[in-house]
């Protein structure tokens, strides 16, 4: 993926332009200010440093004692979140990279996810996953975690693609009584900018997908960073081939907004799911499973997915760029679909 520009039209001229990372920082600050139950816990967030991506910069100064450094202990960080939620708090945990949250797999899928069903007590925790590929990050600093967070029942998984969503969905996540896995794309942190009006009108509910561009020829389904590649591909296909793609940003990955998915497929009859994650059992596979079981008769062509290469994520920059779909590859696949 290359550095995206926000084409989602979420900003309005009157507002100031801020980055995706600023939106998250602001959401955290506003949540801390609004609710004494909120606190932050994570590696390197509790000092002047402000975290590996400076997402929490300035918060410890404003909210002393409520932004805490943890040891390198992702399992315990997650246990602490669950326990604090049981104790009436609304913890927000930062994993330093989504890749390291693999250490917390058990606490997430077996403790956080099962708690409500087993005991009737809900667990309002927000877990923040700085995720996704950046050039030179290599196999262990580029992963997307949504597939392994979504299989076990009990976790809500969301992945904002826009500046406004980064703010709104984080506020929603913190307000939600269930455990919310909040996936932030590291490439968007400073590359995505948009005008942001804190006093703007209503936003979408947490579980809703958003149509980022309307079209009637092919539906492009994606989320997180890949939404911007889809928008570029759509623009290119419109310009060069007069093909109108509908770009659907899933926003919430578990549960899926199956209504929005099927509505768009009903309109276009052709669908491509693009993710930067691995194909096998990924969110793209689940979306295809939903479409093929519940939207079979809506389809005019076989649905397709475009995912990452089925290997670890390479360090070297050219290999890295070849590892996941980009606008050009999405456009090529969508063109084939449109011409099917």
């Amino acid at each position: 993926m290359s550095a995206p520009t926000d084409q989602t039209g979420a900003g309005k001229p009157a507002a100031t332009s801020i980055r995706y990372v600023d939106a998250i920082n602001r959401a955290l600050g506003d949540a801390l200010a609004a609710d004494p139950r909120v606190f932050c816990y994570g590696q390197d967030i509790g000092g002047t440093f402000g975290g590996a991506f400076k997402v929490t910069k300035g918060l410890v100064e404003r909210f002393p004692g409520r932004v805490l450094n943890s040891p390198i202990s992702e399992d315990a960080q997650t246990g602490v979140a669950i326990g604090a939620a049981l104790g009436g708090m609304r913890p927000v945990i930062e994993y330093q990279f989504a890749d390291f949250a693999s250490i917390a797999f058990n606490q997430l899928v077996n403790q956080a996810a099962t708690y409500f069903w087993r005991t009737g007590k809900s667990i309002p925790i927000t877990m923040r996953f700085p995720a996704g590929g950046t050039p030179g990050g290599g196999p262990f600093h580029c992963q997307m975690p949504e597939a392994w967070l979504s299989h076990h029942p009990g976790l809500v998984v969301v992945a904002p693609a826009t500046v406004a969503d980064a703010y709104d969905m984080l506020r929603d996540a913190i307000a939600c009584d269930d455990p919310v896995m909040f996936i932030e794309h590291k490439l968007l942190y400073s590359h995505l900018k948009a005008e942001f009006d804190p006093a703007r009108a209503e936003h979408l509910p947490l579980g809703a997908a958003a149509v980022r561009r309307e079209g009637h020829d092919v539906t492009l389904i994606s989320y997180s960073g890949m939404v911007h590649e889809c928008l570029r591909a759509a623009e290119q296909l419109a310009q060069e081939h007069g093909i109108e793609c509908e770009v659907l940003d899933l926003r919430c990955l578990r549960p899926l907004d199956t209504g929005a998915i099927l509505s768009s497929v009903a309109k276009t009859g052709r669908v491509l799911v693009a993710t930067e994650s691995w194909p096998f059992g990924g969110t793209a596979a689940e979306v295809l499973a939903v479409i093929s079981t519940d939207g079979f008769r809506l389809l005019d062509a076989p649905p397709r997915r475009l995912c990452a290469q089925d290997t670890p994520i390479p360090y070297q920059v050219d290999l890295f760029h070849a590892h996941h779909p980009d606008a050009a590859r999405i456009a090529a696949a969508a063109l084939e679909l449109a011409e099917f």
């Binding site: 609004a34 399992d75 246990g79 602490v80 049981l86 069903w117 579980g207 809703a208």
Partner: protein
């Protein structure tokens, strides 16, 4: 370390007997086919340590028990009926048939229900105690159990280190019962006594003979007092023996005669000691047993009369917020 009062000793014995009576009834039930599916797990041999720990707690304190804490759970306010409902999968039980046996528990009693994965409750109690600190509830303390096997999980290490770094008010009870399922201690750890791990976390360690109820009471009350005095986490290691299989499906044939010879049964040992000290008459002891058994019997009749959950009426959703399509933060 002051010697425990006779009142405290008698209270402890009462809990031990109640726990033993409950466990023995569960075993009988299992053997007679009265438990549908699954196994039964008991705390026999570990009643004194478990109950003496839980006796240190007050209203508002929290306990994270494990497999062998049938006694401590009772001390915290769980009734035999509560326990039996869960083991029998009753809809009326606190787990509503969804989870069973030793996974039972409710924050209403100040008990964190365990998941099976050993070690993973340690981080949870750290979070719960941190929450209390952040909310300004300064009086509450925590008590958390682990075994000689569970001490070697990564989750234990990460969680206990957080408790230590945050200097949270907690007593860690390590029940070193010589066995991790069938595995002997020499395949679980290489130090002489697990209390040697305390210093590495920067916490104070204590040891006691887990078959000696008086020693359990004395040691655990000192540890709890130090926690309440603001000295931070305390680790108490008891040596004892699991006087049962891992669960009732396990005949524990691997336990050697030598191991059995080295460890007595804490319940009769304490009964004899209290009688020798003139604190307990034979009649009073008999009454303790008959009351405990009668209570369990009544509870069992009650639990068995209650309904099991019906699949068709089950609410098959793992989420408390049912409709995220209409969910937004109210700002």
């Amino acid at each position: 370390m002051s010697a425990p009062t006779n009142a405290a000793r008698l209270e402890l014995l009462r809990w031990m007997i109640r726990a033993r009576a409950l466990d023995e009834r569960l075993v009988a039930l299992y053997r007679s086919g009265g438990i549908r599916g699954g196994s039964v797990f008991t705390g026999r041999g570990q009643e004194a340590f478990s109950a003496a720990g839980a006796m240190q707690l007050r209203e508002g304190d929290v306990f994270a028990p494990l497999i062998r804490d049938s006694a401590g759970r009772l001390v915290r306010g769980e009734t035999p009926l509560d326990a039996l409902r869960v083991c029998l999968g009753r809809k009326t039980g606190v787990m509503r048939g969804r989870d069973g046996n030793i996974h039972r528990g409710t924050l209403g009693n100040g008990v964190i229900p365990m998941i099976s994965h050993l070690g993973s409750t340690i981080g949870v109690i750290a979070g719960l105690l941190l929450a209390k600190r952040l909310r300004g509830e300064r009086d509450a303390i925590g008590l958390v159990s682990i075994g000689d096997g569970g001490m070697n999980t990564g989750a234990f290490h990460e969680g206990f280190n957080v408790l230590a770094v945050e200097r949270l008010p907690v007593v860690l009870m390590v029940a070193d019962n010589q066995l991790s399922y069938s595995t002997f201690s020499d395949r679980s750890y290489a130090c002489t006594n697990l209390v040697e791990r305390a210093a590495g976390y920067g916490v104070r360690g204590h040891t006691c003979d887990g078959t000696d109820a008086d020693a359990c009471l004395t040691t655990l009350s000192e540890a709890a007092a130090r926690v309440r005095a603001g000295e931070g986490p305390q680790m108490v290691v008891a040596k004892l023996l699991r006087l049962a299989g891992h669960g009732e499906h396990d005949d524990a044939a691997y336990v050697t005669a030598d191991m059995k010879a080295r460890f007595g049964d804490n319940v009769p040992l304490f009964e004899q000691k209290l009688q020798a000290d003139g604190v307990l008459s034979a009649d009073a002891l008999a009454t303790l047993w008959s009351t405990a058994r009668a209570d369990v019997a009544t509870a069992l009749t009650q639990a068995q009369s209650e309904p099991e959950p019906l699949p068709a009426q089950e609410d098959w959703s793992a989420y408390s917020v049912r409709d995220l399509l209409s969910f937004k933060a109210v700002l």
